[in-house]
């Protein structure tokens, strides 16, 4: 009887033994090319979740067709939010069709990630022709036995970029605060009178800024009724000149308040007066009164006339001049 039992037991045990688990697929494995366009140098991001208990010492990538650089560099910056850096990440070596990255032991079920850069010579991989390629991600132990391995498909396409084009059209707004500007006091020979002033608001996206010009119809304050004029004074000499009381004087004074933007807003030196008694000479041709060297949003320029006269100037209430004020962007 014991002989019979011996036969049975022997049969049952023939196929049984401790069952070592083979190298298995990762619980998760992602191989992301940063460029999937054919013929492009691409960095890589690898995300793995180990399944098999082992003592990993490196991660190995085997590429079906991508050309592997020989000067690899692995980093653990800019990883997915749910992943941690591959522990002990060390030398990355590209050789033949594979890249190996040194690491230390991994924990089953933990999500690890690392990147392979393309910032230096020989880094990354060059993508093959358009198509699907079976690449392999593996972890190896110290004896180069595979712990986990997963074959992934990498898709290369003919063009992975969308080019967005846009035109920012030139803009130029140039607005006068009014079209009449009276002297605040009657003109007199013993004082210099000024107008309230007209403001010019300028906004432009002209990269090189803008310029404003002004010309005078009469180059004088002229009275049809009296048949007399108070002529402009001074010369175009690049400097503001004072109005001397008791003389015929009629000048333009320009002040500026810069908006936001680039460059510098300045009144032309000819017209950069003191706000009360100095200014530049009016002419019948356009003279620049202010300019900016960059784009701007909300420049304000004040144009103000100062005048005085000789004591014998005929009285009248229709002394008038007409300015033409224009501007243009420097695109």
């Amino acid at each position: 009887m014991s002989g019979f039992l011996g036969v049975v037991v022997l049969v049952v045990l023939m196929g049984m033994s401790v069952n070592p688990v083979l190298a298995a697929s990762f619980t998760k494995a992602v191989l992301r090319y940063d460029r999937i366009m054919t013929g492009k140098l691409s960095g890589l991001q690898v995300v793995i979740v180990p399944l098999t208990v082992g003592t990993e010492t490196k991660v190995k990538l085997v590429f079906a067709s991508a050309t592997v650089g020989t000067g690899q560099s692995a980093t653990t910056t800019s990883l997915p939010t749910n992943a941690i850096a591959l522990p002990g990440i060390g030398a990355a070596v590209g050789a033949g069709t594979s890249i190996t990255v040194v690491c230390t032991d991994l924990t089953v079920g933990t999500t690890y990630a690392f990147n392979l850069l393309t910032v230096g010579t020989g880094m990354g991989v060059t993508t093959p022709a358009a198509g699907a390629y079976l690449d392999t991600i593996s972890t190896l132990d110290a004896g180069d036995s595979t712990v986990d391995t997963t074959t992934v498909t990498s898709r290369i396409i003919s063009n992975d970029q969308v080019v967005i084009t846009a035109n920012v059209p030139p803009t130029f707004t140039f607005t006068l605060s009014g079209n009449t500007d009276a002297f605040t006091t009657d003109l007199a020979s013993d004082s210099v009178s000024s107008t309230n002033g007209i403001s010019v608001a300028v906004t432009t996206n002209a990269a090189k800024g803008w310029t404003g010009w002004i010309k005078s119809l009469n180059q004088a304050l002229t009275s049809v009724v009296a048949g007399e004029s108070i002529g402009t004074s001074g010369t175009i000499n690049g400097a503001a000149e004072p109005c001397a009381v008791g003389t015929d004087c009629y000048v333009l004074d320009v002040g500026v308040t810069s908006g936001t933007g680039g460059g510098t807003l300045t009144a032309d030196a000819e017209y950069g007066g003191d706000g009360s008694t100095t200014g530049g000479t009016f002419t019948s041709v356009f003279q620049p009164f202010a300019a900016r060297t960059g784009k701007t949003n909300g420049d304000t320029v004040w144009l103000r006339a100062h005048a005085t006269m000789v004591a014998t100037k005929a009285a009248a209430n229709d002394y008038t001049d007409t300015w033409t004020v224009v501007g243009a962007g420097n695109f």
């Binding site: 036969v7 049975v8 049969v11 049952v12 196929g15 049984m16 033994s17 401790v18 069952n19 070592p20 688990v21 083979l22 298995a24 697929s25 990762f26 998760k28 494995a29 992602v30 191989l31 992301r32 090319y33 940063d34 999937i36 991001q45 995300v47 800019s78 699907a132 079976l134 997963t150 074959t151 992934v152 498909t153 990498s154 898709r155 396409i157 003919s158 063009n159 992975d160 970029q161 969308v162 080019v163 967005i164 084009t165 846009a166 035109n167 920012v168 059209p169 030139p170 803009t171 906004t203 432009t204 996206n205 002209a206 990269a207 933007g261 680039g262 784009k295 701007t296 949003n297 695109f331």
Partner: protein, 341 residues
């Protein structure tokens, strides 16, 4: 004269016995008689190239040999196959306490692996823990064999064990069933409507007048198909982190937020999804956009295999009076895909 002494006692006498010798009839003693045959044939004597006839005591003590299991790949799986163990033998249903163990091979059993009873992955050899009942093996619904290699044809055979019976011989081999290769297809289109286009892919924004949000007429469409068990993701990132003009050396920076409330900016907004999910970062109404800087960001994803996954996104931009005029504002968005295997 007795030539051979047989076992005998005071109340019995065994007239003879043998194993494999043909048996003894009429064993008698004064108070006892039996008819018996105890023996077995060599189990290998009745095995040919096309048959195997169980013989001998070992065979008599074996659990019935189950019929061929049913192996299939219903989901174009690349790393698993479905196996239904058929709990039948000789036209009879095996008892419910019968346990089964399965061998699998991708080379007609030149090399053999076994299916773990723990997680249904492959193991080099099997033990008692790898035997499972029909119910544990998914009943008639079967179970998935995990950890298979892609693109290989597998065959499976099953043996049983029940009660005090020893394990059976291996049953007939299943039909070969192939795992698929892992697949991933991806395409980009640029169009106002959902149609296929070819590269180069260009989205031309209309003139960006200060203060107005401009939305692209065209959408960027992506198509994704994959059998990856955990799906995949579509990512987008920019080259300039905004619309950049070389002519004026200025960039309309990419931003996240509501462009209608911002002075200027550039970004994208998911417009549609089908079989995919949009990442919340790029979901928005009105003029709410997500930035596309140089960091690779997920814009669409799917958590399982997907067929005909489709998604689209719009491009939006806004300039202000501080934005210098130029006709060469450009950004190159790189749109890539990766599957989660």
């Amino acid at each position: 004269m007795t030539l051979l002494a047989f076992p005998a006692g005071s109340s019995y006498k065994l007239e003879g016995y043998t194993f494999g010798g043909g048996g003894i009839n009429g064993g008698t003693s004064p108070n006892y008689q039996y008819q018996a045959r105890v023996g077995q044939l060599d189990n290998n004597m009745m095995v040919g190239s096309s048959f195997s006839l169980g013989a001998g005591l070992a065979f008599e003590r074996q659990s019935p040999t189950p019929i061929s299991p049913t192996l299939s790949n219903p989901g174009s799986y690349y790393n698993k196959l479905k196996l239904v163990v058929n709990n039948e033998s000789g036209g009879s249903t095996l008892p419910p306490d019968t346990k089964y163990v399965m061998a699998i091979s991708d080379d007609d059993f030149v090399t053999t692996k076994y299916i773990s009873g723990t997680d249904h992955s492959l193991v080099d050899s099997y033990g008692i823990a790898d035997y499972q009942t029909f119910l544990q093996l998914g009943d008639t619904g079967g179970f998935d064999i995990l950890g298979l290699d892609p693109g290989k044809t597998y065959k499976v055979k099953v043996r049983s064990m029940q009660g005090s019976f020893s394990e059976s011989a291996w049953g007939p081999i299943s039909d070969g069933v192939a795992t698929a290769n892992p697949t991933l297809t991806f395409d980009i289109d640029v169009s106002a409507s959902d149609v296929a286009t070819t590269p180069p892919y260009v989205v031309a924004l209309s003139s960006l007048y200060p203060g107005s949000v401009v939305t692209s007429d065209e959408k960027v469409w992506v198509s994704v198909d994959t059998n990856a068990a955990a799906g995949g993701s579509v990512f987008v990132y920019g080259q300039n982190a905004g619309l950049k003009s070389l002519a004026v050396g200025y960039t309309i920076a990419s931003v996240s937020g509501d462009l209608s409330n911002l002075d200027n900016g550039f970004g994208v907004q998911v417009s549609s999804v089908s079989q995919l999910t949009a990442d919340a970062f790029y979901i928005g109404s009105g003029d709410i956009v997500g930035l596309t800087d140089t960091l690779v960001r997920q814009i669409f994803y799917v958590n399982g295999p997907v067929t005909s996954g489709r998604g689209s996104f719009l491009v939006k931009a806004k300039s202000d009076n501080d934005t210098p005029a130029a006709g060469d504002y450009t950004e190159a968005l790189t749109v890539i895909v990766a599957a989660n295997y």
